[in-house]
């Protein structure tokens, strides 16, 4: 571990994540209060949880990060936009949107681009991260997707949804992050997500070029920093 980083600095790189639909109001409140205590960059949550997270996190630096088109990304643009608009109206600070992966695979790059452009438009300057789902893409597709996300005006590319139900799912790797970093250069930020459980993993991904870490183990990762 070469990186010199304090617990507070590490926490500021983490989107603490809870994308479980069966999380009750009380559980979401506790989750957000914990995120506030640790000083995480944000809480990554489902749209239905945005209003309660907004209430708990008001007055703090912790961003409310809404997952859009999650986890499949396979929606017509107008419906992805509806989700994004609702989340913005209800207090989301950032949007993590799943790219239309099927359209990319089909070669319908205009669809992929418009999808992102429209979400960026309704985000009105708020940070938009585009989830590529690298484990399901070829290297060329990853590079193409990065270029589209950049052209469409998104701020981040993100490696994976972390949703384990997909065939071919695997944890995100240092190689994934390096590939994204190489593809976007310094023009965009990179978020690593998917199966990140330990402090060592998180540090290795940051060293590889990740600006943000998405994980449901943020507390363990911060506590694990010696």
């Amino acid at each position: 571990m070469k990186l010199k980083i304090t617990r507070e600095e590490l926490a500021r790189r983490i989107d603490q994540t809870l994308l479980e639909p069966y999380t009750s109001k009380t559980e979401m409140e506790a989750f957000c209060n914990q995120a506030r205590k640790y000083g995480f960059a944000g809480v990554a949550i489902l749209p239905v949880h945005v209003p309660i997270a907004r209430r708990v996190l008001d007055g703090s630096d912790v961003k409310v990060v809404a997952a859009i088109g999650f986890p499949l990304g396979s929606l017509p643009t107008e419906l992805k936009v509806s989700e994004a608009e609702w989340c913005i109206e209800n207090g989301a600070d950032e949007l993590d949107m799943v790219m239309n992966i099927g359209a990319l695979k089909t070669g319908d790059f205009d669809v992929v681009k418009r999808d992102i452009e429209e979400v960026v438009r309704v985000a009105k300057g708020r940070t938009v991260k585009v989830i590529l789902e690298v484990p399901l893409l070829t290297k060329d597709e990853v590079i193409k997707a990065c270029n589209i996300a950049k052209e469409a005006g998104a701020h981040f590319v993100k490696t994976s949804t972390g949703f384990k139900g997909f065939k071919g799912w695997r944890p995100t790797t240092v190689e994934d992050v390096k590939l994204l970093r190489q593809a976007v250069g310094t023009s965009m930020k990179v978020k690593a997500a998917g199966g990140i459980r330990t402090t060592e993993q998180a540090i290795a991904l940051i060293e590889a070029g990740a600006d943000r870490i998405g994980t449901s183990s943020g507390v363990e990762i911060v506590e694990g920093l010696k």
Binding site: Y22, S24, E27, P71, G102, F166
Partner: protein, 251 residues
């Protein structure tokens, strides 16, 4: 009499719900599947118009997936999806239930949401997914009661993606509600033996993303069961074909 793929398919749904499915793969899958008389084929909303086109001249219902698979959307956004699905030709809707409202104990909002969905869906078949794999038996009964009272046609046990439905859950629901609530089993139906066990427990429809594995194991499963039990299941399938809601009817 033997249970052939052409018979059991009539009470089965299949689906292609994979984030990385290309248009070509969706077309290939649907064209292959439409050779069997499935009750319905479910797709992502992005591919709904394509599926409607491909299944136009068949008896197979096109099923839209709403707030899928997590059920993490607030009511207004969910209703927009339902409207969009109706406008774009869906015959059925598989709707992931608002688990947040359920877990928070906000049963009134939950029931109201389902009522609104059923209303917008009109004559279309609505299946609500309470994700039984994540619930206690008591919560399963409560969720089913709300779904039934809100007027949905079916509960669909799970949305798949690793969630598995048990025979016990099907028995539990059917013993409580009988024919007043139709049950579509989804999640873990990998072969004919499991499909038969679910039907025997009272399932009204079976969903699987790998129907060929069910068809290919039909003979083997029937040999294992014996003539008498097979006949009982066959009769049940025939009764279901007559009684269980499906938008386009049966051939």
């Amino acid at each position: 009499m033997e249970i052939a793929p052409e018979l059991i398919a009539k009470i089965m749904d299949t689906s292609i719900i994979e984030p990385n499915a290309s248009q070509k793969e969706v077309i290939q899958f649907i064209n292959e599947m439409k050779q069997y008389p499935f009750a319905a084929i479910a797709v992502d909303l992005y591919y709904l118009p394509l599926a409607v086109k491909l299944l136009k001249d068949t008896s197979i219902d096109v099923c839209a997936t709403i707030s899928y698979p997590l059920g993490g959307l607030p009511t207004p956004v969910k209703l927009k999806q339902v409207k969009w699905a109706v406008e774009n030709g869906a015959d059925e809707m598989d709707v992931a239930m608002n688990m947040y409202a359920f877990k928070t104990g906000d049963y009134d909002s939950l029931e109201k949401e389902i009522r609104e969905i059923v209303e917008i869906a009109g004559e279309r078949v609505v299946k609500i997914i309470p994700m039984t794999a994540k619930l206690t038996p008591q919560d399963i009964k409560l969720a089913c009661k709300i779904i039934k009272e809100a007027g949905a046609n079916f509960i669909k046990t799970n949305s798949g993606f690793g969630q598995v439905t048990t025979v016990d859950h099907v028995r539990l629901i059917k013993s409580e509600f009988g024919d007043h609530l139709r049950v579509m089993v989804a999640g873990g139906v990998r072969n004919a033996e499991i499909a038969f066990a679910m039907l025997d427990a009272g399932a009204d429809r079976i969903a699987t993303s790998t129907p060929l594995d069910v068809f290919n194991t039909l003979k083997e499963a029937q040999q294992k069961l014996g003539v008498e039990k097979v006949e009982k299941i066959r009769k049940r399938i025939e009764a279901l074909i007559k009684e269980v809601p499906k938008r386009r009817g049966y051939e």
